[in-house]
């Protein structure tokens, strides 16, 4: 049961995700997120961090992996949460996302 549940969960999640992509909602949400992040200065903070990393590693030898490894955790960390709160990301974007999810789920419900 638990496995099936988990399966179901996974399935549901997958289905919803797919639905989002299909209708293009995911892209729209992504753009919205980007705009919000720039607005609250998250991008500038990340850029400053990038500069430090690059100066450390040397301009010539920076790789994508380095950057990703360094920046992603920072990007999801405290500053991000602050930014989130500042520009009301959770309020706007997340609620929007939630609505979408609910909508798709309700559509899918009868097919359970």
């Amino acid at each position: 049961m638990v496995v099936s549940k988990m399966n179901k969960d996974a399935q549901m999640r997958a289905a919803i995700n797919q639905k989002l992509i299909e209708t293009g909602e995911r892209e729209r949400l992504k753009e919205l997120l980007r705009a919000k992040l720039i607005e609250c200065g998250w991008k500038d903070q990340l850029k400053a961090h990038c500069k430090e990393v690059i100066k450390e590693k040397g301009l010539e030898h920076v790789t994508v992996d380095d950057l990703v490894a360094e920046i992603t955790p920072k990007g999801r960390g405290k500053e991000y949460k602050l930014c989130e709160r500042k520009c009301g990301l959770r309020h706007d974007l997340f609620s929007l996302l939630l609505v979408q999810v609910f909508f798709f789920f309700n559509k899918e419900k009868h097919s359970f």
Binding site: Q11, K30, G75
Partner: protein, 407 residues
């Protein structure tokens, strides 16, 4: 970032490509087919049971659905953020490799130069407010300290290079010349050449001032128009204003003593103008007055036995049979009226009177010339220009209309 197709999920292992996506087109195994009804009864029961179970599961799930959904939403959201991060990393990496990542930086020295200033009394650039109000500049020409806002006009005047400065200078010169003339008259009474008496010069100066003030409300004193009109009006004024020119050419005989009178009369024309009651200061041969007039004046002042400066063998000698007063009156009244009937039938006089009465004609007689120059004030355009040139200071004669009123 390019949109990911449904089958892929780069590196995150959300679902495997082999997994069949669950769409609504999938028919769950619990659907009942009509053909195998008896057989399916058990199956349907089984299915029902199962479905009810499922429903029950769902019911139990439904309470958690919201939280689940929220969890799902959370996960999707986290995905989005991570995608953004990745995208940002790619951009930075590209910028680094293409070499434009550090382009928008400035060196720290410049940064310090242009730092925002936050002190009281200064703006963010570090400038003082109101700095130029109290600032004083030193003029390189006259070495005076001038307020900054007045510096440009002062320099214009100081160097004499602006538009107005030449005009102002010209006016000043004209003024000073006139003033000098009038002032020197006060000093030199014996000077034959100057036509002004002390009394007259003051009057003239005052008159000129008042005339200038009168013009001021209508025009800017420094504009070119002003100077033109001034010239024109000065010319007109000089011609039209009888008082002015009689000032310049006449002497008031009231202030003179007998000795002075005699001396004057021996050297000057001395004919008294009717309008200003002043004596003509021109020479004995002054063309504006006749010998008759001169004689009359001398007789008037010095008595019948006065020594006349010139002995005339004119026909007018007969006219002196009349009494002095009558003669004098008749002579004094030659200025004006056309209805004069001089008892002395001096042909020259009558002709002059007539010429006078017909002052509007363009003739060459002096009287008409006088009238002409006066007419210019009224605005009639006669052949005055030529007359003006010949006699720069013609005494202003009255027009017939004006003098009809007077007489």
């Amino acid at each position: 970032m390019p949109p990911l197709s449904s089958g892929q999920r780069g590196g995150e292992g959300r679902w495997q490509p082999s997994e069949v996506p669950w769409t609504h087109t999938n028919i769950p195994p619990t659907c009942v087919q009509p053909c195998c009804r008896p057989l399916c009864y058990e199956q349907s029961e089984h299915r029902l049971h199962k479905s009810s179970q499922m429903k029950m599961e769902e019911m139990s799930l439904s309470g958690l659905d919201n939280s689940k959904l929220e969890a799902i939403a959370q996960e999707i959201y986290a995905d989005l953020v991570e995608d953004s991060c990745l995208g940002f990393c790619f951009e930075v990496h590209r910028a680094v490799k293409c070499g434009y990542f550090f382009l928008d930086d400035t060196d720290p020295e410049s940064m310090k130069d242009f730092e925002i200033v936050d002190q009281p009394g200064l703006d963010i650039f570090g400038q003082v407010f109101n700095q130029w109000k109290s600032k004083e500049c030193v003029c390189p020409n006259c070495s005076r300290s001038i307020a900054a806002s007045r510096f440009a006009p002062h320099l214009e005047k100081c160097l004499g290079m602006g538009r107005n400065s030449s005009r102002i200078a010209n006016r000043r010169i004209a003024n000073s010349n006139n003033m000098n003339k009038s002032e020197s008259d006060q000093e030199d009474n014996d000077d034959i050449n100057d036509n002004d008496w002390s009394y007259g010069s003051e009057k003239k100066a005052k008159k000129r001032k008042s005339d200038k003030l009168w013009y001021l409300p209508f025009q800017n004193p420094n504009s070119p128009r002003r100077s033109k009109s001034l010239k024109h009006k000065n010319g007109e004024l000089s011609n039209s204003d009888p008082f002015k020119y009689n000032n310049s050419t006449g002497i008031s005989y009231e202030t003179l003593g007998p000795e002075e009178l005699r001396s004057l009369l021996t050297t000057q024309c001395g004919v008294i103008s009717e309008h200003t009651k002043k004596m003509c200061t021109r020479s004995l041969r002054c063309p504006q007055h006749t010998d008759e007039q001169r004689r009359a004046v001398r007789i008037y002042f010095l008595g019948p036995s006065a020594v006349l400066p010139e002995v005339e063998s004119s026909l007018d000698n007969d006219s002196f049979d009349m009494t002095d007063s009558q003669a004098l009156i008749s002579r004094l009244q030659w200025d004006g009226s056309s209805d004069l009937s001089p008892s002395d039938s001096g042909s020259s006089k009558t002709s002059e009177n007539q010429g006078w009465g017909l002052g509007t004609n363009s003739s060459e007689s002096r009287k008409t010339k006088k009238k002409k120059s006066h007419l210019s004030l009224v605005g009639t355009a006669s052949g005055l220009g030529s007359n003006k040139k010949k006699k720069p200071k013609p005494p202003a004669p009255p027009t017939p209309s004006i003098y009809d009123d007077i007489n």
